[in-house]
C-alpha cells in the first residue's frame, strides 16, 4: 500500500491514491501557490491537494491557526481556497482543471 510520492522527496505521503478499482482521468497539472502539482481529471481539489501532502489549506484570520479538509462534503467551508485569483471555492466540491491557478491561504 505504501507508495512513494514524487512530490515529497521519497517520503511516503500521509494521503495516498488507491490503485486498482478505478482508472483516473487524464493527468493534469494545477498551479498551487505558484508550484506545479500533478493531479488527475475528475479529482476534487481537496483530493489533489491532500495527495500532494498539502493538508494545510488556509490559516484563520484571527489566530492564524492552520485548517484543512474537515467535513469533506461542502458543509463546513474550512477547506476553502482561491481559484483563478478571484473565486473562493470549497476544495472538496471543486474539481481540478489543467492549468488551474490555486491559491491557498496557508502561508
Amino acid at each position: 500500500m505504501a507508495r512513494v510520492h514524487p512530490e515529497t522527496g521519497g517520503q511516503p505521503a500521509v494521503t495516498t491514491r488507491l490503485e486498482g478499482a478505478v482508472r483516473r482521468g487524464r493527468p493534469v497539472t494545477i498551479l498551487v501557490d505558484g508550484e506545479p502539482v500533478g493531479a488527475f481529471e475528475g479529482e476534487s481539489l481537496a483530493a489533489a491537494l491532500l495527495a500532494a501532502d498539502r493538508r494545510v489549506l488556509r490559516r484563520t484570520p484571527r489566530t492564524g491557526e492552520p485548517r484543512g479538509v474537515f467535513c469533506g462534503m461542502g458543509v463546513c467551508f474550512d477547506c476553502v481556497v482561491t481559484v483563478r485569483e478571484s473565486s473562493v471555492v470549497r476544495s472538496c466540491m471543486a474539481l481540478v482543471e489543467d492549468g488551474l491557478v490555486v491559491t491557498t491561504g496557508r502561508s
Binding site: L18, V22, E43, R55, P61, R67, C71, V88
Partner: protein
Amino acid sequence: MTIERWDLVVVGAGPAGLRAAIEGARAGLSVAVIDENARPGGQIFRQIPEAFGVVDPGRLGSEFARGQALFAELQPLPIRFVLNATVWGTFEDRVLEVAQGDRGLRIRGEAVVLATGAYDRPVPVPGWTLPGVLTAGGAQTLLKSQRILPGRRILMAGTGPLQLVVASQLAKAGAEIVAVAEAVPARALVRHTISLLRVWGITRDGLAYRWTLVRKRVPWIAPAILVRVEGREGAERATIARADAEWRAVPGTERTFEVDTVCLGYGLVPSIELARLLGCRLWFDALADVWVPERDDAFETTVPGVFAVGDGAGVAGAVVAAEEGRIAGLAVARALGRLTPVEAALRMAPARRRLIRLAAFRAAMDAAYRIRPGLQELATADTIICRCEERTRADLESAIADGARRPDHLKAWTRAGMGPCGGRMCGLSVAHLLARQLGTDMARLGWYRARPPIKPVPIAALTGGPATRTTPANAAPR
C-alpha cells in the same frame, strides 16, 4: 429572472430524493431534482467522478452496486437534474432560489420534497480544528468517490454504525487504524438482540464489517471517548479515555496514540436549514440530539405542499430514506390528481410495511447509540466552538455571563454562527452550552434563526450578471 415551474421539485439527489422523483415521474408528474454535487447519488451512493473509469466494481463495495441499480431506474425517466446547484433561499411560496455557479435560477414546485440529507455531528474537542482531523463521512467520501486514503495512521473516535462501516472500509483499503474508540459498549446492543435479528440483512452487514476489523487486528476500544488531538501543523497525537455511561472521560484512563489522522464519527445531524427557512415547524429529538421537521404519515411538513424525507428529516439510513421518498412522491402524485387515492394507497402499502419492519431496528439503534451529555463537555475553555469565527468556549461563556439567553444572542454578541457554514458546525454546541449554563433544555432554546442565504453564494448568482473580477479574500494588499 423567469421562474421554472414543475409539478414536483426535489432538493437532494440521495436515496430519498431520487426515489421520490422516480415515483413522481412514473405517475406522470413533471419533476426537477436539485443537488449540490456534480452527479446524483448523495453521500451513500456517491459516484466516482465522471472522468474516472471503473476497473473493478467489486472493490467499490455493495453500495456501489445498489447505486448503479438506482441510476438505471432513472435512465428512462424525463427528470430534469439541476446539478452543482445550491438552494440558498426562498422568498415566495414554493419558489426556490438556486445558485448554479455564477448563474441564478428560480425554480417553483407545485410540491417540494426536501431530501437534504445529513452531515457528521460536529464535536468540539481540543484540537479538532487541526488539519488531519476530519469527519468519518468526509473520510468515507474521499475513499469512496476519490479513491484516496486520507491517512496512514488513523484513530477513529465516535459511535454507531457509520463509524464501524468507515473503519472497516479504511482498514480494507490499507490504512493502519491504530484504534477505534467507540463510546458505547457492545453490551448495550445485547438487549436489542431480537430487533437486530428481525432485520438480519442489516445485522449481517454489521457483523461483516466488525469481522473485517477483527481480521485486520484493529483494536476496538469501548466504551471510550476522544479527549484531545495535538500537533503543530496537523494531527500528530490523539488521546482517548475510558467513557462512563454519560460519555464523560474517566480520570486516569487516558491513552495516547501517534497518528496522522483522526476521524470523528459521532453520528449525523439532519440538514434542516431549508425546512426552517420554508417555515416548517420543528421538534427537538432528544434521543438523537437533533432538530427535525414535524411530519404527517405521508411525510408532509406543517407547510402544505412541502415534504421532508430521508436523513434530512431524521437520521435512519438509506433504506428508510428510500421508502419515505417513495411515499412522499406518491403522495404528491395523489395530491395533484395523477393517482387516485386507491392507486396511491396500493403503491404505498409495501413501503409502509417495510418501514414498520424497520421501525423496531431503528428504535433499537437510536436507543443504543443515543448521544450522552459528556460529548458536549469535552471542550476546554480555549477550545474553538465556532470554527468559522474562531470563538472559544470561554468567549461564549463570558457572553452568557453577560446575559445572553438564546443562541441568537450569542450570535449577535460573539459572531458565533455568522460564518460561511451558517451555524451548522456550532449551532448545537452553542445551544448545549446555553442549556447547561442556564439549566434549561434544548427544546426551549431553539436554534439560530434561519436567514437567506442558507449557504454562501456568488454575488453574480443574485444579480444575474457575470462576475466582476475582485481581489481574493485572502490576498495581501498590493
